[in-house]
């Protein structure tokens, strides 16, 4: 049995602090277990980082600590799903999507097993932990794996709804989340439909499309641009795959410019997915993909990085303004 945590420890504070974003994963899974679902949650030595410590405390018989063995965790989750459980396994997005890519492809996706892969601290949200802990490739990698659905919720409330919507979803899902500190975009219990973009505004000058962590700042930027008189639309493309073609085509139908915003390499992620739709339809739309421009991030606290890479509200507004003014 583990000794109890010191009340001065970081882990203790993580476990006992009220952080709705961090609690969301555990809360959603606890609700499903309480409803009698064969849920099992696992992590690779990161239960305080992803908040699963709360789930662990309440349902120790449904929690699996895998230790620092991520590949074993993914393959074992597939084994659990193969005999009727609904496994959720969580670790840093960098390790899940890159280190375990082959296990995800073979054991989870190819085998069509309903495993939920939670890649947390995605993008550059681990700031000064550096490149090993950043994941700016995960959307591109996961999106290219057949049978795998890819969803990036914007906040804790949306994550809870994604988990609810996913409960009886027959396919495996990669769920990309952040640090659990995302400002709230959505109120509680707003139903989520996998594969449907959420339209916040419609615009005739520009449509901004964002996913996951960039939804909140991009939405703020949209509001600022609209307040300044521009007709700017906004789509939350929480489901990156299968992407909502209709929503993209509709936006392209009334706005001549589209700006995708993601905390990810501009190659292969949300921007790539939107580009594929627009190109295949031959639409004359100016698409600008904003994100990390095929480079490794500098080291800094996350908020400093977001400012540096124009991924905060101000930066996105500036990027959109240049686009609207024909300056790139």
């Amino acid at each position: 049995m583990n000794k109890p945590l010191s009340d001065k420890s970081w882990q203790y504070r993580q476990l006992n602090a009220v952080t709705p974003g961090l609690d969301a994963l555990s809360d959603a899974l606890i609700e499903l277990v309480d409803a009698g679902e064969p849920i099992v949650a696992g992590t690779a030595d990161l239960q305080y980082s992803n908040g699963l410590a709360k789930f662990h405390a309440l349902h120790p018989d449904r929690f699996v600590q895998f230790g620092i063995s991520e590949q074993n965790m993914v393959s074992a989750a597939a084994g659990m799903a193969a005999v009727g459980m609904k496994p959720y396994v969580a670790t840093f997005a960098s390790f899940l999507a890159l280190l375990c890519c082959e296990q995800i492809r073979m054991d989870v996706a190819y085998s069509k097993l309903p495993v939920r892969l939670i890649g947390h601290h995605a993008g550059i949200s681990l700031g000064f932990y550096g490149t090993s802990h950043h994941a700016t490739e995960d959307l591109a990698i996961m999106r290219s794996i057949a049978n795998l659905t890819v969803i990036a919720p914007a906040d804790g409330n949306q994550l809870k709804e994604v988990i609810k919507a996913a409960n009886d979803y027959p396919h495996p899902i990669y769920i990309r989340i952040q640090r659990g500190r995302d400002p709230e975009v959505y109120a509680e219990r707003q139903p989520f439909t996998i594969g449907k973009a959420i339209s916040h505004y419609s615009g005739t000058d520009l449509t901004i499309i964002a996913t996951g962590s960039t939804v909140h700042p991009a939405l703020e930027a949209t509001r600022a641009l609209r307040a300044a008189g521009a007709s700017v639309g906004f789509l939350d493309m929480a489901t990156v795959k299968p992407i909502d073609r209709d929503a993209i085509l509709e936006a392209a139908g009334h706005s001549p410019r589209i700006l995708t915003v993601e905390e990810h390499n501009v190659l292969g992620g949300l921007g790539g997915a939107v580009a594929e739709v627009l190109a295949s339809e031959g639409l004359p739309v100016k698409l600008t993909r904003h994100g990390i421009y095929d480079e490794y991030s500098l080291i800094a606290p996350p908020t400093h990085l977001y400012a540096h890479y124009e991924l905060d509200a101000k930066g996105i507004e500036a990027r959109a303004t240049r686009l609207l003014e024909g300056r790139g």
Partner: protein, 295 residues
Amino acid sequence: MTQPGRIETTGGRNSLRPSDEEIAFLKDRAKFCRLETIRLIEIAKVGHYTSVFSAAELFSALYYDAMDLKRGEPKWEDRDRFMMGKGHAAVGLFPILADLDFIERDVLDGYTRLGNPLGDHPDMTKVPGIDFSSGSIGHALSAGCGMALAGRMLGKEFYTYVMIGDGELQEGQVWEAALFGAHNGLATLIGIIDRNGYQLDGSVDDIIGVEPIVEKWQAFGWETHVVDGHDVAAVATLFRTLKADRARTRPVMIVAETVKGKGVSYMETEPGWHLGYLDPSDAARAIAEIEAMEI
């Protein structure tokens, strides 16, 4: 000799050592597995004969004796599960699945042809009776750990058998699973190492040595057993003994001493047969040797 159609549910025998009649039947099914492998690879024109031949008695003892299975019911919830890291030996398993009415027998005739579900590696989404897909060396023991743990969580009593190769022990993930299985006391997990000593590029000892295998698994906290993998009576007895031990609190690793290519003299003695193709005259010779083999 017992006919294949007679077995309804295998496993759970009263006597730990199979009867002479049962042993003769298991030998016959191992022979059937080898002969069918030659027939199927003739369709594909290339395949892993020798990887099947080292495991034929293991397959026979598992599918016709050790495992709880129901003929024609590959999705039976409480069945014992089997998977293999050495997925390239699936060509020897498919005929057994057909023999147990898990797949139609004529599906075998289209082995590896366009649209047929049977390829070099087993696919659980396409082939009833395949409990887990494989092909990427090193994943299976982890998946087996997951199955055994989930079985315990769900209150099921099925056993999970995972066959891995000795070359497969070079994969790091195997050792992650070794730690995990022991840590969680997965007593219904039974691993089998088909220790035939060879991998694609040569002998395991020459490529990257994995010895001492038994001591490694013991050090990792597994119950270990060493058995002559071609002595089908010994193998079946061991499986029965393991199932009878309800007090066990650890996973088991069986090291099955085998011969790569067992049953075909030139495959047993000449390296270079990990992947191969027998032209018709060589195939006839191989079939004659297998027909005549007495293990």
